[in-house]
């Protein structure tokens, strides 16, 4: 099957513009990205779309090509933001798939408005605090150690720039902007919401909790905790993979998610979109 090529669009919300990539046909899948990789259509997206879904991939506030939405200050603001996005897209009850930081948003969305979620997929989601399994400090990791933390099998480091080579200021500023947006929602409490765990019982949608086998950022115990607390949740691990998940093993993650979504069609719940 030829790769699905996305269309690019902007949603106009009260607080600014949301950049969104859309590709494929089928039941709608709202994909909430991890801290990295905003604004891009990855092989994972193409594979999921190619499996017969309409993938809707917005950039979070302050990420990629979305506006900053400076009034959004904490995770609960992102819940309301994504309710606005779902409304603006004309969806009533989409599949929601979230990875890492985006998985935290998805879980919060699902406890807040369970009736708006057709199915829920959490890919090594942040959001919980397990005292014995702390999340590594991503803000303190230098680039060299970042790759070793995110990947089971880290890619070779990029060649060092020639001495005196000009800095790519735009790229540095763009990366700093996204780190700033991540910190806005995640610096303290550090990647968790103390109230989330006791609210997980509210989730009613069919749920898949998935994790990479070798997660050095958010220990796998977090995914296991989600799976234990969400009623009826399925649990899966992808072998030989780090927290980068759909960057490191796009085929395995796309296939895992696609088969879960296919086995829980939205039509079954009486709502197609």
């Amino acid at each position: 099957m030829a790769d699905v090529v996305p269309t690019e669009e902007f949603l106009e919300l009260a607080g600014g513009r949301v950049h969104l990539l859309r590709g494929g046909t089928g039941e709608p899948v709202l994909f909430l990205h991890a801290a990295g990789g905003a604004g891009a259509w990855h092989p994972f997206h193409a594979l999921l779309a190619g499996a017969g879904f309409e993938v809707l991939a917005p950039d979070h506030p302050g990420f990629g090509k979305s506006d900053d939405f400076p009034d959004a200050e904490a995770i609960d603001d992102l819940v309301y933001h994504y309710l606005d996005v779902i409304d603006a897209l004309g969806l009533s009850r989409p599949h929601v798939v979230g990875a890492s930081f985006g998985g935290w948003i998805a879980a919060e969305l699902a406890v807040h408005s369970p009736h708006r979620i057709g199915s829920l997929t959490l890919l090594s989601a942040a959001g919980l605090r397990l005292p014995d399994h702390p999340v590594a400090d991503i803000f303190l990791l230098p680039p060299a150690k970042l790759a070793a933390t995110l990947f089971h099998d880290p890619p070779p480091p990029a060649p060092a720039p020639a001495p005196g080579a000009p800095l790519d200021l735009d790229a540095i500023i763009a990366a700093y902007r996204e780190a700033t947006s991540l910190a806005r929602f995640s610096w303290v409490p550090y990647f968790y919401d103390p109230k989330l765990e006791r609210r997980l019982h509210r989730i009613t949608a069919p749920t898949l909790v998935a994790a990479p086998s070798d997660d050095r950022l958010i220990p796998v115990a977090h995914a296991q905790r989600y799976a234990a607390l969400i009623s009826g949740a399925a649990y899966a691990e992808v072998a030989d993979c780090g927290h980068a998940m759909y960057f490191e093993r796009p085929t395995e993650f796309a296939s895992l998610v696609a088969s879960f979504l296919a086995s829980h069609p939205l039509a079954e719940s009486g709502v197609s979109r």
């Binding site: 400090d137 803000f139 303190l140 990791l141 230098p142 800095l167 200021l169 540095i172 500023i173 700093y176 902007r177 780190a179 700033t180 991540l182 910190a183 806005r184 610096w187 303290v188 550090y190």
Partner: protein, 387 residues
């Protein structure tokens, strides 16, 4: 020209394998390496040095705030200032400053500075700083909120000192139903304010609007010149020429009896300061949101390098340290005065890294006796030189 003796109170006893083993002397440098007995002796020694500077005739003695670091052992500058109020008599006691960006309770800062002002008989200067990058990690304060927390804390503290009646405060970061501090400060309308600047045009304007003293942090002369010019321009935009005293140049200073001796002793001390004391990773320097994208672009485009990248000779040539005999130091400071377009206060770091007590005391003596008189006439407002 006014002169102050600034102390960081460093913990100089780093292990031999520090360079290979540790990313920084702060935040992640284990405090198992801190020997409380040595630390206690250091506090006594460092307070002695500040008190001696008062006796030598320095106009000010200065302390500051740093956390979780061998670079500076003063998590609470106000405690050190309190100790100094009782054993000094004439120098201004300069708290440069309280890191109100990371404090949870700015009203406490207003209260403590007011206490110090009373205890010192109105000798306190109150600096406000945001707190540096690693301290946002160390105190789990969101760096994205650094500037708004600083601004709000500042506004609250000034109002707490000056409001003729009690009031309520409902801000984005702080809420108080009753602001009614006891005691109130003795200096009216409030103790003088010092703000360090590192290139932000917002800070230049903030200081110029309020006629606060704008002080530099350690950077090459060409860059500090741009900061001072920016402050002067911000004042000009508001229709006035700042009093020279409102511009303060901060620099490590070391004086010995001869140039040769001075350089021999200062080299390891300055290398310690810039390469070990200030050693930190890029992530620690600029946590996300600590700088605005525009400020970060400005810093990167200006070609500022990490401080540890400078050699001893670079530091001297760049005006990031002034070392020599009294005559050489006086000449060099007069030269820097010209290169910086003038300043009315010199904030000298005299106790540099692992310098010994004897070295620091001798350096301060020589500076007071042989450097200060030569520089005194510089940086004084025109109307006062003719008075």
């Amino acid at each position: 020209m006014k002169f102050s003796f600034f102390h960081l109170m460093p913990y100089p006893y780093l292990p031999d394998d520090f360079d290979e083993k540790y990313d920084s002397s702060a935040l992640t440098y284990p405090n198992a390496n801190f020997d409380p007995k040595l630390g206690s002796e250091l506090y006594g020694r460092y307070l002695d040095e500040l008190e001696y500077a008062d006796q030598l005739g320095f106009d000010g003695i200065a302390v500051n705030e740093h956390h979780q670091s061998a670079y500076g052992l003063m998590p609470s500058p106000n405690l050190m200032a309190a100790a100094l109020t009782r054993r000094t008599s004439s120098a201004r006691i300069m708290v440069l400053g309280n890191a109100i960006g990371i404090r949870g309770n700015p009203l406490r800062v207003a209260e403590e500075i007011a206490m110090l002002d009373l205890m010192s008989g109105g000798r306190v200067d109150s600096g406000f700083v945001r707190g540096i990058g690693w301290e946002y990690f160390g105190h789990s304060i969101n760096p994205v909120k650094s500037r708004e927390r600083f601004d709000e804390a500042h506004d609250l503290i000034i109002k707490a000192w000056t409001s003729p009646e009690m009031f309520s405060w409902y801000g984005k970061n702080y809420e108080y139903r009753y602001v009614n501090i006891w005691p109130r400060p003795v200096q009216q309308p409030h103790p003088p304010i010092y703000i360090p600047g590192a290139g932000s045009t917002e800070t230049m304007r903030f200081c110029a609007e309020r006629k606060y003293t704008y002080m530099s942090v350690y950077a090459p002369t060409s860059i500090v010149r741009r900061w001072f010019d920016g402050y002067r321009q911000a004042a000009a935009d508001l229709g006035y020429v700042p009093d020279p005293e409102k511009i303060a140049f901060s620099v490590p200073v070391y004086v010995a009896d001869t140039d040769e001796q001075a350089h021999r002793e200062a080299r390891p001390a300055l290398e310690w300061l810039y390469r070990k004391g200030l050693k930190q990773t890029a992530e620690m320097v600029t946590p996300p949101g600590y700088m605005s994208p525009g400020s970060l672009r400005g810093v990167l485009a200006s070609g500022m390098r990490v401080l540890g990248g400078f050699s001893y000779e670079d530091l001297l040539a760049n005006g990031q340290a002034v070392v020599g005999s009294a005559a050489a130091v006086a000449d060099r400071l007069a030269d820097l005065y010209e290169k910086l377009g003038g300043f009315g206060q010199l904030i000298g770091l005299f106790a540099i890294g692992p310098s010994t007590h004897q070295q620091v005391m001798r350096s301060a003596e020589l500076f007071a006796s042989d450097v200060m008189p030569a520089l005194r006439p510089l940086g004084v407002a025109a109307e006062r030189t003719t008075a």
